[in-house]
Amino acid sequence: MDKTTLTFEQFQPLIARFLADCQWFWPELLLIVVIALLLLSDLFLPRSKSRNLFFLAMLGTVAALLLVAWDLFRQTHGAVLPKGGEYPFPYLFQGMVIADKFAYFCKIVVLAGTIGVIAMSYKEKRFNDYTMGEYYTLLLSSVLGMLLMVSATDMLMFYLAMELTSIPSYLLVGYHRDDPKGLEASLKYIIYGAVASGIMIYGLSWIYGVTGSLKISQISLGHFDKLFSGLVLLMVFAGIAYKISTVPMQFWVPDVYEGAPTPVTAFLAVTSKAAGFAFLLRLVHALRVSEALPASLPPYIFAFAVIAALTMTIGNFMALNQKNVKRLLAFSAIAHAGYLMMGVCVFSDQGQTATLFYLAGYMLMNLGAFYIAMIVANATDDDNLTGFNGLGTSAPFFAGSMSIMLFSLIGIPPTVGFVGKFQLIASVLSSLQTVPGWLRLSLILLVLIAVLNTVVSLYYYARILKAMYFEESKHPGIAPSALNTVTVFVLAAGTLGLGIFFNWLIEGAKGTL
């Protein structure tokens, strides 16, 4: 077994390259430091003070976000780039991780979402009697996992990143130890998640076996038997689908979203979905670029289109009769995953920019919706829709911003939701010209299904509007708090503003191609 053993000389350039690569890894490193600090501080701080660990966590995330922005700025303005090693610059650490514009865009989205989630966690009433140290540690480690997942170009790295994201979130879901719903949710979540990642890694093993390497760019299953390549890719997709909650693996979503504390639900709904879609987009891009598959793309397009259609329809129809607000927003999250899948399924650059744009927009509006749902739940201790009754009169600001969020979720023009959905439909319609005949019909059908789902979705979103504005009932009113008002204002202004001046975001998303 004469596998080459590396001599020190050969080893030295690798270390140099490794150290150079670390220059581009600051946000993640900073997070690791913050996580460590959080763990340590938890030991010293008394239970009552653990709440203000919030500031440390928030500081860390904001710093990470700034670092990402700084890296992006540096990269485009002639910073010294690490050389040597078989993988050119954007690939760091032997091609495991990449630091291209796509990764930076997604990192910004993930980190921005996390800032919102952290703000929510600070205000969540039920966290008052829990030590928050572990909470923030788990949260930030999960975020670290997402940052890696977003920039992973190696299937192994993706698997590790997914596990690093999932495992802390299992615990986060069950953080309220004395809440039966929470525990039940986390039990289901861990079992379901473990099975999904098990299936995925099994699929990956087959891909590794057949192609010899786990690098995404080398995945080419074109010349294999159709059944085998279809099954293997589907098993891998099963793992990703669990993360982004589309059709085959979306059954866990309602129970976990309802059971988990609201900040964690928001975290799962927004950031982990964004990371999942980011990797799926990268995978789809790799499949499209590697010449092995382009000839046989249409069946994949059709398969993803079917998945998109099924996800949308199931999400919207199941949401029709929901009483619990979080469960309703869970199904709406599934539905939105369906809309996002529409962008992915066309395998085109236009599709990718549309999906990224919608991810950013979705983060804003969904975070806002969950935030206000949490505030209302805190004020009225009633998780159901009836909690919203009479909000219009008692808290007009929050009711107004909730309406903006809901209109954006439905896809009514002046909001970012509409612009996102407009681009998704545009990407599907623009791909009509380059697609064979039989597929053109099914894509038109997909667009019609999406359009009809918008109308169906109007019904259950409008039920919240009905509760807020048309029901005459005594609403206790919401305790004024600076953080709440500021965050909700930022989110609402973002949703509305992006609805009108969204050209810069499109350019940003286009830049990631």
């Binding site: 219009g392 009514i412 002046p414 667009v447 359009v451 050209n503």
Partner: protein, 578 residues
Amino acid sequence: MLLSLAIFLPLMAALVILFIPARYKQAIKIVSLIGASLCFYVTLHVTGAFFSREPGETMDHFFDNKVEMTLSSLKVEEQNALRPILAAKNFAYPAKSVTLTEAEQKAIHGLKLDHVWQQLVEMKLASGVPQAKKMLMTEYYEWIPSFNIYYFVAVDGLSVSLVFLSALLGMLCIIYSWNIEKATKGFFSLFLLLISALMGVFLSLDFFLFYVFWEVVLLPMYFLIGIWGGPRRIYAAIKFFIYTLIGSVLMLVAMIALYYFSSPQTFNVISLMSLAPGFSHDFQWWIFLALFIGFAIKVPVFPFHTWLPDAHVEAPTPVSVILAGVLLKMGGYGFFRFNFPIAPSASQDPFFVWMLAILGVINIVYGAFCAMAQKDFKSLVAYSSISHMGYILLGMAAFTYASMQGAVLQMFNHGLSSALMFLLVGVVYERAHHRRIDDFGGIGLQMPYYTGIAMVGFFASLGLPGLNGFISEIMVFLGTYQGFSVAPNTDKMILLYIALSGIVLTAVYILWTIQRVYMGEVKNEHYKEFKDINAREAISMIPIAILCIVLGVFPKLILDVLQPSVDVIVDMMKMLGK
């Protein structure tokens, strides 16, 4: 600058109102009145341009200068790269498509001038279109370059009448709703938002901008009906919302398909008109159908009309005045601005001509019969609106100068007469707090001055000569007869005769209502002490009544405004027809 002012003035007033604390009700009302009247004042200026000798720069000059300006702002070598290519292309009216050869593509891409080229082509195409010669006060700013979306706003005869109508009715409704006490701040800000969205719909010429304003109209209406409405208001509000949303999502798909299938991909409606003949017939067919359904729901055409009676019965009076007066015209306006110019060969397709004619006749006759069967005063007026909108469809099916102009005039006239009728119903509702027609009686004696105006309102909608309803009806009939006596569609003449029976049916249900409400014995004592209309109601009703009479006696006033822009649509179609 005038048009943007007209659109955003009410919006600014709405924002100002948001900052006034809710308890200063009077201040809120005054601010909203100022906002609405300012907007009306600006609209008067805009309409004035159409009557003055030198109406100002038309759109084709505007675009020619803009093309020169953008070209001169480029660097020299870019200019002499672009000018020859620009000169080579053909931008005359039915310029089916403008494509670049491989070499030109590379050259432009090399100089990173793609976006500028796209803008130049769009402007050249737009200035070639005959309709551009009739458009005034053009404003053209870049909004979203990556999707070639521009803030493109202009006005011509067709839109100025509807803009004037919405500004006038907006102001009058604000005066009329002076006594709204429930959440006045919310009511007035939503109402002003509604007015500015309506102005936007009628003035915008970029499909995306039009669609944004089209949907923005939906939001305030949902809340206005839902919060301040009658007993079944929630049902009516959601029904209205869902109906219109179905229509507008179909429009969204059509809009995007148009964007991707037009060769220099554009949302600019005017340049789409120039590219429209290039689309294949069945593509135009599907686009026409999608747009038709979207607009038909708003007009309301027969199968999609069931939201209108519910929305009207439940909406508060000022809202249902705006709903009947202006919102129904958005659909009609859409046909003239989008359906015909952008899908020309599909609009001559016998299937659609038959469909328009038949649906128009059904609207007239079925609407009249349903109106007869109504117990509620407001739903009777709602069904009469459905019946009157049938004339517009008939006019469009005939597609002659007179019938098209009659249809456009019918939109304006029906706006006035139905707004007046709803105000009348509102006045009676405020006193009697119910709208069951059979329980009224003998109001004529109690409130003579009110009954006088009511007579003008009801007889205007009856189509009595000397009032505005008659002018548009007679033009539609004359035009349709001319249209249907020509070879291809002579067998539609029977439809015209059935439609003509409409004038008798309208007379029946209106006179029957007048008899039951205004004439006869006073049924219950409570009505004895009804006071006649007070200042607030009078101010909001009398201008409309005067307009009805003036336009009835002297229609030249508005026909000179409408004629150039409606005739140009028909000429464009005829030019393509050959």
